[in-house]
Amino acid sequence: MSDDQMVTIEVDGRQIEAKAGTLLIEVTDAAGINIPRFCYHKKLSISANCRMCLVEVAKVPKPLPACATPVNNGMQVSTRSPLALAAQKGTMEFLLINHPLDCPICDQGGECELQDVAVGYGSDVSRFVEGKRVVPDRDIGPLIATDFTRCIHCTRCVRFGAEIAGIRELGAIGRGEHMEIGTYIGKSVDSELSGNIIDICPVGSLLSKPNLYQARAWELVQREAIAPHDSVGSNLYLHIRGNRVMRVHPRDNESINECWISDRDRFSYIGLYSEDRLTTPLIKKNGVWKEADWEEALEFTANGLKSARSTSGDRLGALVSPTATLEELYLAQKLMRGLDSDNIDFRLRQTDFRGKEGVPWLGQSIADLEKLEAALLVGSNVRKEQPIFGHHLRKAVMAGGWVGFVNPLALELNYPVDQLVVSPAGMIDELAAVAKVLGLKGKPMDKAKVTDAHEQVAERLKSAERSTVLLGNMAVAHPDYSLIRSLASRIAKASGAVFGFLPEAANSLGARLVGAIPGKGEDARAMLEAPRQGYLLLGVEPDMDFANPSLTRQALDEADFVVAMSLYRSPSLENTADVILPVAGFAETSGTYVNAEGIWQSFGGAVKPVGEARPAWKVLRVLGNLLDVPGFDYVSSDQILEEARAASDVKPDNGTDTPSDWQVRSASIGLVRIGDVPPYAADPLVRRSTALQQTKDAGAAAIHLNTRAAEQAGLTGGGQVTVKQGTGSATLPVVIDEAVPDGCVRVPTAMPGTGDLGGSFGEVTLEKA
């Protein structure tokens, strides 16, 4: 019998066609026949332990679990025969004997699988008169609340950890009735995908800790949204009460995020209600901040920009966040160009703008990632930076694929990989060595030292039918990005691999499609090195969102006028801006994101902006009017989208050129800083999610260096050390961390206390505090 042979089965008297060997529950689910279940989940392995889906199959004396029974031709199934119903009701009774009757105070109430199924299969009075089981709750971290007395031992959460998160954090400890779900001796659940266990738990045992006792399911209204952080573009549901986002859930999209979302996408909404959320426009007059109404603030802004511009548009610059919506980015560039300025850029963490590149994108579909046989990732912490891509790559490895990394930090990954961990300058040598194996010639290859490791990488890429070379966030932020890009692209070409990028943010690709980059004007770095008279900032914080916060502050300090459109009144904006306009954030505005694969996904505003905040597209529209820029008469964001789409004259394209002079800018003497961006420091919203900031992945600002480097510098773990970079410095605790290569010191960026430092990958010195 071949695998794709079709068979006919009969379920409750109905003829159904299905592929031979498909599990019965999949067949009945597809046919809309409901069979109750708890342990079965379409994305998890079959455990067949809850015994709720027992059905009667003709010629089989015992009821069989539909989740574990493959269909074969002529099979006759009864899902509601006396035998099947007796089995289902029997299981239900057993499930309920030890389940507490605390539905009225349980957050799961109203959306509880056990509650729903109990209505159909439970009895109104329990025959169980003994005391019920009580299980102590466990603190498994800041995101997930536990109530294990309610647990029905379906083990979905355990299987999720082993099979999807790729890290066995939860297990079933103890035997029989004493079986409990728990972590291994007091550990927390730290997976970047951990929140998904809240969704798959069929009862109220695993709940959202930030949302605990905050809302009942039936009070919530559901709206669709797109995740605003990484370039995956995960599909979301927002659950709203009144005018407040109460929680975020995944929305199934099999070709993007399946039924999962990252913890960042799930818990960042908390940042919308941060204490420093700006609710009214602020104007700085004579060095003092005062609240203003919109009319005054917009007039002030228009006048400020006009006088800063004076006679030349080149005196202005716009620095915009790649997490802004497509409509905002389009209007920002249209405004700048309307003021004769070509100085607009979203590439705030990039420092190397040499050479030409197209419109970097994934180079393949997201669904293709899990079919890869070989993938080489350069300068990427994909697991934490784009967790859903990490999940797809893990699936590829689980299916026998190979993944390798060339990185300035050793990663903790949830699948076997080969990692080449070297200094930023060393990354070029590593790539050159791989290129040399593949027969490439030229300057960096000539002096490259080839080892077995390089030969292996080249062989893996070459021999695989489906392979890829992908550049991540740390590659784009690298001082020699143009060289890395060229080498990686040539390695891909020589090995028959697809060349692509894991773009940093939700609209990294969209920003380019609508021209939020300079044509002949100045790029982000040049705009700061040669300060402008006036700056427009959109959705950014000067000390956190730039490659070189110290340079950024100097440039903004020197400017005559700085307008910031922001959700928050952060100290670094108050220090540098002249006016702060409160704008709508995630969930509060309509817009569009273009994900890594190039899929345009639009969404509506789900709640009204907090306080006096307004959608940024509306603010930009009025500024356009006040500055007499033509074509700013939109009445909806749809009109902007339509215009932006029509005006977009570029397409995703990973083309790149080879630099003629091979000048390496990465520091090769002294101590080199590795300034990665921790996943929960990536943008202003997530930085204000108090729950995410308590997780292990949030980390803390510190100076990480390996044992050898620490010995050379005479340092030990725990003490305070001052790291100096240019004119700035930071005094931080020392952490001995073998993930950092020799000659390097990891000082993450975008962390509190690092705002005075310079470039993310620059040279630093250490001094004992």
Binding site: N49, C50, R51, M52, P63, F94, R127, E177
Partner: protein, 423 residues
Amino acid sequence: MANEVCLRNFDQDRPWLLEQYQSAGGYEVLKRILREKTPPEEIIEEVKASGLRGRGGAGFPTGLKWSFISRNAPGQKYVVCNSDEGEPGTFKDRDILRYHPHLLIEGMIIAGYAIGATRGYNYIRGEFWEPYQRFEAALEEARNAGFLGENLLGSGFDLELHSHLGAGAYVCGEETALLESIEGKKGQPRYKPPFPAHFGLYGRPTIINNTESLASIPVIMEKGGSWFKELGVENSGGSKMFSISGNINNPGVFEIPMGTPFSTLLEMAGGMKDGRKIKAVIPGGSSAPVIPGDQMMELNMDYDSIAKAGSMLGSGAVIVMDDTNCMVKVLERMSYFYHEESCGQCTPCREGTGWLYRVVSRIENGKGRPEDLALLDDMTVKIAGRTICALGDAAAMPVQGMLRHFREEFEYHIEHKKCMTGS
């Protein structure tokens, strides 16, 4: 006609030594098989012809089990011996490990040869420290003598055996839980199919047999399947080791032909202690339904006779009780055992075994309710046959047996809040 198979060298001095085993003809069958390169199919046919049925309790024909393995499938295959011996009342495999370890080793090597396995494991019950040491020492002897390792006796056939000590879970005697445990995982039964013959240890084709079954193989191969079969009766070939315990004078292990009358076995075990009246017998380990003593005295010890009486021969663990025993108390103890030993994955067993125990315990302690017996009847139906492995059935069957034959004792307990036996 006793001690013909596993216990045939029982009277030797230190029979566990290789020297002693070989002096009685040990390993000669293996040598012959390796020398003559006996076709594996012939061995499997011989085992089939012997009528040997799994001695661990389920009674599945051993030869048939072996024939399910695709011998020529590429890749690793395993032979696994189940020495977990956890069924309450059973203590026969312990004696094989203590006194005749080489018999088991030879049996495992022949089994490995028959299915093309090059590696085997003997999973030994966690509490069996002395038997484990004996078996380890025997493995070392066999290895040094060239019966284990690479190229056994120059035959080109490789086989290495290891022992694996359990950690005290009854459920690990279930064959797939045992495999999980060897793999280093939590001992929980797997959903079947696939069966171990196709997806066994580390996902590879595996045969897994009881200690007594495997230890019977060398004798079957020496004397022939039909010789073995004729020791017993129709449908129950061979002889069988019975572990008899309870209110008797001489508890112990007796190897007797299948079909021997229970009364003969009882006589061999010295009869009832203090001449008391036999009240009840559990004929096949604690999960087998109880049989009233009078009825038991008329039965023969073979699969069919015991099954006809509504119980099962199981592992051959015979627990004899006299008229001083309170059946409610007995059931309470047994139900407690299954409550403690349920692995916890399937709902009916995890929740039901605890509920069964609590209700029986309530009755024993004078807090029973009139509706409790109907509740117990109903619960057992909802547990049995609704779980991944047979532990749920094992917990339900003793309750069903007790309520079938001794219901009035339970009713008396509920009504009078005390025991009718006065115990």
